[in-house]
């Protein structure tokens, strides 16, 4: 084993390897996957001098701790959290030099859900269909991190790390507002249901994951019974299962589905959805198609 590697000291609740995913294979049943808060992952890469599509670690709620075998530049972005190197506080949202054998720890998020840990050179390993992302729906890509695992690092490019102290980042949302265009199956719902969706208060459910943001709130009533034959699903699709509670499809969503899609969330709003804690108030706001 070369020294271009990272040992996992504390895997955390759920830490996965993510890059920009594997779009383009939906016709084979392959989900797109990729970092849920893509701008935060891209920023982490920029801070350490990686291309935006390099693989990073995506943590969930309680961070992770890793020990590089060689001295590397690292950065933590996304959900704000205490960052330490061998126990000493260092900056969040900034490039940090981590000596060989030292432990970089991203602590529990003080807001938001997912922090991103980038390493100069990126997380390595063999890409699957062009991506190193862990896809938790279909099991493609590397398994979630486990304590004691060793991750290979990629070859660092020539790019220098960013000359910034702390990069500005949007805070996690106190209220999540998701702009939604109606359709393609809004005609499967009653006029009341459409009004309910776009005027009533919802909350982010604790059952949310990388596949979908689940919601708690008023159920949406269908105008017609019966089954919809399976059809293709897009990122941000708001699917309504029989219990009537809308589910917003995130990166690991299935490529086809049989529950009607009442609307689609603007992609620009999905990073904040990825950072919304369970219980966060949620509103859907209808917008016109561009």
């Amino acid at each position: 084993m070369t020294d271009r590697a990272l040992a996992v000291v504390r895997a955390g609740a759920l830490t996965t390897v993510q890059d920009r995913g594997r779009p383009g294979y939906a016709h084979l049943g392959v989900p797109r996957s990729g970092a849920l808060d893509a701008p935060a992952a891209a920023l982490a890469n920029r801070l350490v001098g990686n291309p935006a599509g390099a693989a990073v670690l995506e943590t969930t709620l309680n961070g992770c701790a890793v020990r590089p075998r060689s001295t590397v530049t690292m950065a933590v972005t996304g959900a704000p959290c205490p960052v330490t190197v061998d126990g000493r506080p260092v900056a969040w949202g900034a490039p940090v030099r981590v000596p060989a054998g030292a432990v970089l720890e991203a602590g529990a998020a003080v807001g938001g859900v997912r922090s991103y840990v980038a390493v100069h050179g990126g997380i390595g390993g063999e890409p699957v269909l062009g991506s190193r992302s862990s896809d938790l729906l279909s099991g493609l890509g590397p398994a979630p991190l486990t304590d004691g695992a060793v991750l290979p690092l990629g070859q660092p490019g020539a790019g220098p790390h960013a000359r910034v102290d702390v990069a500005p980042q949007p805070g996690p949302p106190a209220e999540l507002v998701l702009r939604i265009t109606l359709g393609p199956r809004d005609d499967w719902f009653t006029p009341d249901a459409l009004r309910t969706l776009t005027t009533r208060a919802y909350r982010v459910s604790a059952a949310s994951n990388r596949i979908g943001l689940r919601t708690e709130g008023p159920a949406l009533e269908r105008a017609r019974a019966g089954e919809l034959p399976s059809e293709g699903m897009v990122l941000g699709a708001v699917q309504v299962p029989p219990d009537g509670r809308p589910v917003v499809f995130l990166a690991d969503h299935p490529t086809t589905g049989g529950y009607p899609v009442i609307g689609v969330v603007r992609p620009a709003d999905l990073p904040s959805a990825a950072q919304a804690l369970p219980g966060t108030p949620l509103r859907f706001v209808a917008v016109r198609r561009r």
Binding site: G29, V30, P184, S230, G232, V264
Partner: protein, 209 residues
């Protein structure tokens, strides 16, 4: 043909049958290959084709709505053969639905020529059509929590092969050792929309039945 907008960059094109969806999918893939269409994803399904990553979905919608549906293209010459042991736990139930003896299920299934209508559910899982409509079967009332990889199964008008172990509600009629999806292989998926497929009966020992 009806084109429904999906978000800002996608269209769901709805047609009236699975055959029309296959024909439309083949036509759209051809257009993309010839540089006449830019789309990130072209995803056929039961009665629809989804186009995602479009630059101007409104224009394409108008174009498609005005266009004639293309004829179903001839099936590809090559046929993927999938050896099957017809030993599934739901053979008796399927035989009862079909009103035939258990041994007949294998004969009827292996005599049909299948085509992959679309993929979904899991990487490499194809929804294959080809059995006459009288052989449609319902899903199981209670889905299994774990269907073994390689299970050959029926539901509605479709035959499918589970690429890996997963929960599932389809009726299991057989087993294959064929690897449906291997990310290290090119192409990774054995079956893609339009692929022609035949199931070849084999005995447990591996010989022809």
């Amino acid at each position: 043909m009806r084109a429904l907008p999906v978000g800002d960059d996608a269209l769901l094109v709805e047609v009236s049958s699975g055959e029309e969806a296959q024909a439309l999918h083949a036509e759209l893939v051809r257009r993309r290959a010839e540089g006449l269409l830019t789309a990130g994803e072209i995803v056929p399904a039961a009665r629809t084709v989804l186009l995602d990553g479009l630059a101007d979905p409104a224009r394409l919608a108008a174009e498609l709505t005005a266009a004639e549906l293309p004829p179903v293209p001839p099936p590809p010459r090559e046929t993927v053969e999938i050896p099957v042991r017809y030993d599934g736990p739901d053979l008796a139930e399927v035989a009862a639905h079909w009103g035939v003896a258990e041994a007949e299920v294998a004969r009827i299934h292996a005599a049909a020529e299948f085509r992959v209508a679309f993929c979904g559910f899991a990487p490499g899982f194809g929804y294959l059509t080809g059995l006459p409509a009288r052989y449609d079967v319902p899903r199981r009332a209670t889905p299994r929590t774990a269907v073994p990889a390689g299970s050959v199964a029926l539901a509605g008008p479709y035959t499918g092969v589970y690429p890996r172990s997963s929960p599932g509600g389809w009726q299991l009629i057989g087993t294959t050792d064929t690897v449906l999806f291997d990310h290290a292989r090119v192409p990774a998926a054995l079956l893609s929309p339009g692929t022609r497929v035949r199931f070849v009966p084999v005995t447990a020992a591996g010989g022809a039945a």
